[in-house]
Subunit: 439 residues, 2 copies
């Protein structure tokens, strides 16, 4: 029987497919054609059955589904380290917002997003959620770099360089949704910024439109104690309760941060089958609080993982986020068995895909899914000895060992060389912005 | 006036000397002769006054004093990932101790310590504290690699491959101290393992000898809630109170972990001017608890930083430890200004030196101190833009960007190439041990 010709074979020493749960395959090959995973087989069998136009051999590497960074503000990478060691509201109101008011433009967003995508690919992220001004520019940038993205267009009460106010933001966002409804790599979501920055009426509109379009909603929620206290003063209830009244809590909803949680909040999340996006490094750095991850998981709530923007992290490396998430979940629960290494990897892959309603396409290495895959090199001093591969990935900060990244079967990084982005140009532009913003 | 001939000039784009506090120098040069720092000057001035036998130019790098890893068990790097996601006592009693009982030998310690030193140098540590069996083998290994070390010989109630019991351990340790009393790179300290693993009588002996020899004492202390509860049941007081009674609390004492702390414990630390060694990643991973770092700092207690062993971390990268320490201190204190980036760098340098009584020699880049220096390359995507250098080092996991390391002016790593260790041989031996331990 003749071998079937396909676009690409990737043979690796190890594969962690994420589904089935907890598995590590050795000496297997991912068979890829027309951007999709055709099969995952022992290499001996794969090479008998398939011929690849291209065949990549990775002898000391592990393949994983590309990581899903479920919350961020990509362009803010140009503000990495701009204002550190400050509490959330001082940081936002005295530093970030005034700087943004002065500098944000489509150019800023394009250059910042390119820098972010370069950093994300270099650390294994192949799909990211974004919430920032000029989401049309983000979409263009995503398109030409070939990465995958959920772009949540932002809606606030206040005007910005991108729009005049809530109505204008929603109008522009709906147009953007329409422009991208047939794009494979981009999904447009609604980004009502937060209960403290957006009024009830536009949130009600968003709830209606999102349901109609079956589009996701991402919102900053229960990030700090102050947010809860202010909301109770102003509205007489907790933010999540108002969202329920508005009709904004559903399986399409991605609740970002969620550090201030009581039993009723958990029940609400369960009842509405809403998703949590956990951003542990940002929550720690801004001293926002500790998210009760064990309780979320024990209640069957889907928890995805995000880096937040580089201005409050200061890194977009999802392996660092995985590490912090796993460590802090244990300490908060007082139980070292909480969030084991496999669960931590799921949070950064399939759970992110689920939160975005994209788990039929990405989040695991399975036949039928898109070939969004990364390779991590395991041969260095820092990774040896190697008793337990998932453990090594989660607890040793493996981000700088990511060697390859593919999206839809297209190589976006090969041996740490980006294929669709020019690092030198990105650095030059970044330094120009730095000069301007420091002046 | 003719220029003075010296051994080495290191010119760098930036230098963070740690002392004076909070400074970042640009375009300066460290002048080194006979292992000591002679001067730190603007490069223009340095090159007019001094001629280096060797002159290293680092144009996109920052120089820092070599990092001080104040607590670890180097040879346990051979057990990296051997047993994860388990609570401390299960992990120790069911996994680590039985494995050690079966496998520990001088060979194991030599090979594991070499692996650890390679990893530490590659991530910027030039001085580490060790507490493990066969400290004589550790000393030999430290010697031939040229790194600096405080070797705390362990004392437990139970026998091991290295000795028959407390008396034998103390006897061997005193001999070791005597053998190394004139060594520049090695200081021998006392390592009474913990209040739960060593009886009162040998601890009293250690207190007497340590005072006599002016040698440091390192002890695991107040690591878990269970330790405190068990101690109260057995002795009627908290572990630190028994140490006071024994005479073991002094400025020579390094109290490792200290996650279970009340006001009286703080007062005791202050009264005896004892040091805390904080190991945040290990404490989180074993769910031991949160150390109240802000309270320690507010009370003027010296807090050093350690990775603990790779079996409970699973990395010896001090930049990861710095990051976790800074982030978690903020969240625990509920204050994002707690432990700013400069304080985090101090904890990993001068505070570690102080804890070991070595701050007259190391911990900062100052004239008269030993030339223990590292260079970190800042040119990559992950480090840009660069508004705030200390912030970038603390919050972006810069460990893999460490390019050079010198101890006493001798280069131990140049452009990430280790000079006194063979990485290939280390990896081969590591994999042999892995096979044996997995069989």
């Amino acid at each position: 029987m003749a071998a079937t010709l396909v676009d690409l074979l990737i043979s690796a020493r190890w594969i962690i497919p994420i589904i089935p749960r907890g598995k590590v395959f050795e000496d297997c090959t991912v068979v890829i054609d027309q951007g999709k995973i055709v099969a995952l087989l022992p290499t001996i069998e794969a090479t008998r059955k398939y011929n690849g136009q291209e065949h990549t051999h990775l002898e000391q590497h592990v393949l994983l589904p590309g990581l899903v960074n479920a919350h961020g503000h990509a362009a803010m990478t140009l503000l990495r380290g701009y204002a550190d060691d400050l509490p959330l509201h001082t940081w936002l109101e005295k530093h970030i917002w005034p700087t943004e008011a002065q500098w944000i433009s489509s150019d800023f967003v394009r250059d910042g997003t390119e820098l972010a995508i370069a950093e994300m690919l270099r650390s294994g992220t192949t799909c990211f959620s974004d919430m920032y001004f000029f989401p049309d520019t983000v979409a263009e940038t995503v398109n030409h770099t070939g990465i995958r993205s959920q772009i949540a267009f932002p809606v606030f009460d206040f005007p910005s360089a991108w729009g005049r106010g809530p109505e204008d933001y929603i109008h522009k966002g709906l147009q953007l949704h329409d422009d991208h409804k047939d794009r494979d790599l981009i999904r447009i979501a609604f980004g009502p910024h937060a209960p403290y920055s957006l009024s009830t009426e536009p949130m009600e509109k968003i709830a209606t439109y999102a349901e109609e379009l079956d589009a996701c909603i991402q919102i900053h929620l229960h990030e700090t104690e102050q947010e809860i206290a202010d909301h109770i003063s102003a509205h007489g209830n907790r933010p999540i309760e108002r969202l329920v009244d508005i009709g904004l809590m559903s399986p399409l909803t991605q609740c970002v941060h969620m550090t201030q949680i009581n039993d009723q909040d958990i029940a609400t999340l369960v009842e509405h089958n809403a998703n949590v996006v956990h951003c542990p490094n940002s929550n720690l750095k801004l001293a926002s609080g500790f998210s009760p991850i064990a309780e979320f998981l024990n209640n069957g709530i889907n928890v995805a993982l995000g880096t937040d923007g580089a201005a409050s992290n200061n890194s977009l490396n999802m392996f660092n986020e995985i590490n912090t998430a796993a460590l802090v979940a244990k300490a908060v629960a007082g139980n070292a068995s909480t969030m084991n290494a496999h669960e931590a990897l799921e949070m950064a892959t399939i759970n992110g895909a689920k939160a975005m309603g994209w788990d039929d396409h990405i989040g695991s290495i399975e036949a039928g899914k898109s070939a969004d895959i990364i390779a991590v090199s395991m041969g260095a001093i820092e990774s040896e000895p190697l008793y337990n591969l998932p453990s090594q990935l989660v607890y040793t900060h493996a981000g700088s060992q990511v060697s390859h990244a593919w999206v839809n079967g297209t190589a976006l990084m090969v041996d740490r060389q980006l294929q669709t982005l020019n690092e030198h140009e990105i650095l030059t532009k970044t330094r120009q912005w730095q000069k301007q913003l420091s002046s």
